[in-house]
């Protein structure tokens, strides 16, 4: 049996694509064969004891290779690969070997005190130790179901859970799935609710940061209340500006309608298309300051003056185009923020 294991390992060492899951499945199958052959429980334990050392060494070499292989390859959710592995592998002081029904590979290393316990579970909730760094997956049910099917031959109907249960996280994580990997920080709770809350809070803070860039003058204020204040002020000021401008346009509008009988709309639209043709404004133009009470926004820097306003433009004339184009070059500054 061990020779087959060794052959398996050599096979798998050559190709790192073999997932840990399959490898462990192999091991478990081997174990099960061992179990089936020897039916007495004390012999089982002894067998466990004798076989474990070699198994342990072999699989640990695997895991080390895995650890090194995972580091560069799998960036998401692994981080320092050894820590991931340690997180997966629980550290228990006591390993209760008297449970003959516990199925799976039990590897004991007295030095490092690492045990890997693979069991078939009904629930898919992962119990994590809160003092250590842990990883938690959202939507873990679907995936563990598939795992369960794989290990169905080793099924343990009992829901014995005295020792800390952990799934084959390493195996399942190698499968490429679109899960949200959230790493809980030290000392923070890792239950579902707090993780969801934390995700929500991060989302909100990200959006607030974006708004901070959008609203000028928001950098100086810290804290959500102050920022919201600034945002509210800014929105109100923008709305007021729109109000002023609409009043202005309302004044201009009826006169324009009367005057526009001579001009055609197409000609007017031609002015709009001239806008991207921007020439540097002439410095002699004065500023026509609007009556806005707000001077905070840098975007409303209206620094364009029209000295020709006193002498209004006459109705369409031949020199119209040259005049108006020069005017347009200046007024097109309005578009140039």
């Amino acid at each position: 049996m061990l020779e087959s294991l060794v052959s398996l390992e050599s096979m798998s060492l050559s190709s790192m694509d073999v997932s840990v899951l399959e490898r462990l499945k192999w091991l478990q199958q081997q174990q099960q064969q061992v179990l089936s052959t020897t039916n007495a429980s004390p012999e089982l334990l002894q067998f466990h004891g004798t076989n474990n050392d070699e198994l342990l060494q072999n699989t640990f070499s695997h895991f080390q290779m895995l650890g090194s292989g995972f580091g560069p390859n799998y960036s998401m959710g692994f981080g320092p690969s050894h820590e991931a592995m340690d997180g997966c592998i629980s550290r228990t002081n006591s390993c209760q070997m008297d449970q003959a029904d516990t199925v799976g590979v039990m590897l004991n290393n007295s030095e490092e005190n690492i045990t890997i316990i693979l069991k078939n579970k009904r629930k898919s909730e992962v119990k994590t130790r809160e003092e250590e760094k842990t990883e938690k997956k959202i939507k873990v049910e679907a995936e563990t179901e598939s795992n369960m099917k794989v290990k169905s031959n080793l099924s343990n109907t009992e829901a014995s859970s005295e020792t800390s249960k952990q799934k084959s996280k390493a195996a399942s994580e190698t499968q490429k799935l679109d899960y949200i990997h959230v790493r809980a920080r030290r000392g923070q709770a890792t239950d579902r609710h707090s993780l969801a809350e934390r995700a929500r809070r991060e989302k909100i803070s990200k959006k607030m940061k974006y708004l901070q860039d959008l609203v000028p003058g928001c950098n100086k204020v810290t804290g959500r209340a102050g920022m919201l204040d600034e945002i509210i002020n800014y929105v109100q000021s923008l709305q007021r500006q729109v109000e002023f401008l609409s009043m202005k346009l309302a004044v201009l509008n009826p006169e324009l309608e009367l005057a526009m009988e001579d001009l055609s709309v197409k000609q007017f639209q031609a002015y709009f298309t001239n806008l991207p043709v921007v020439v540097a404004s002439k410095p002699s133009l004065m500023v026509d300051a609007p009556l806005f009470p707000l001077d905070q926004q840098g975007s409303l820097d209206l620094s364009v003056i029209n000295p020709n306003q006193a002498t209004t433009i006459e109705a369409p004339s031949a020199s119209w185009e040259t005049q108006s184009q020069s005017l347009y070059n200046t007024s097109s500054l309005g578009f140039q923020y």
């Binding site: 860039d213 919201l228 609409s246 006169e255 324009l256 364009v304 020709n308 005017l327």
Partner: protein, 201 residues
């Protein structure tokens, strides 16, 4: 992008009914109103880890968008009647430029249907917040401001905070573009004044 429901199908030229709550909005002729949720879902699926930043500034920061808006506004102003204020037409055109993908644009398009009619009859608009005004318990400092902000952004009184922040960002960008376009437009129109009365308005 074909939906079995004709109301959610995209790109229908001519009149298109967009379901909004229980009232229907009819887009103007020639305007395309995409199915809003579908578009937002598409946007979200396409979005990488950039967050809300990219598409909003791209939508409202372009001078092309500004030109489109000012042309449409000028068109609408020429066609406007006495009953509707300039402000309303401006908002309406802004919302139309937004193509109905955001909540505030949809709310503006819907509310404008009712507002001009109701103002004619001189009835007050039904306030959206009735329960809150009556039994408002003491909210936190942040919560109060969130309510205020929701009141400012049209159609977002009851939305939750993350969506509200998204809508606010889009609304702010749109308002800035509106201000820019309207200043330029007023400048152009004032320069075209043939009459001498106004002088330097």
């Amino acid at each position: 992008m074909s939906g079995t429901n004709p109301s959610t199908s995209p790109e229908l030229e001519g009149t298109e009914t967009v379901p909004f709550g229980r009232r229907l909005v009819r887009a103007q002729r020639g305007q395309r109103v995409f199915a809003p949720k579908l578009l937002e879902a598409l946007r979200r699926s396409r979005r990488s880890s950039e967050g809300p930043a990219s598409h909003i500034s791209r939508r409202w920061g372009d001078t092309a968008a500004q030109k489109v808006y000012s042309l449409k506004l000028y068109d609408a102003l020429q066609r406007s009647r006495r009953s509707t204020t300039v402000r309303d037409t401006a908002d309406k055109v802004l919302a139309a430029t937004a193509r109905g993908t955001t909540r505030w644009s949809r709310a503006i398009l819907v509310s404008r249907l009712g507002r001009s009619l109701r103002r004619h009859k001189k009835t007050k608009l039904a306030s959206a917040v009735r329960g809150g005004g009556g039994g408002r318990r003491k909210l936190s400092a942040v919560g109060n401001r969130v309510r205020l902000l929701g009141g400012l952004v049209p159609g977002c009184r009851r939305t939750a905070l993350p969506e509200l922040l998204d809508e606010t960002a889009d609304y702010i960008a749109a308002l800035e573009m509106q201000v820019r376009a309207m200043t330029a437009l007023s400048k152009i129109m004032s320069e075209f004044q043939p009459s001498d009365k106004l002088g330097s308005v």
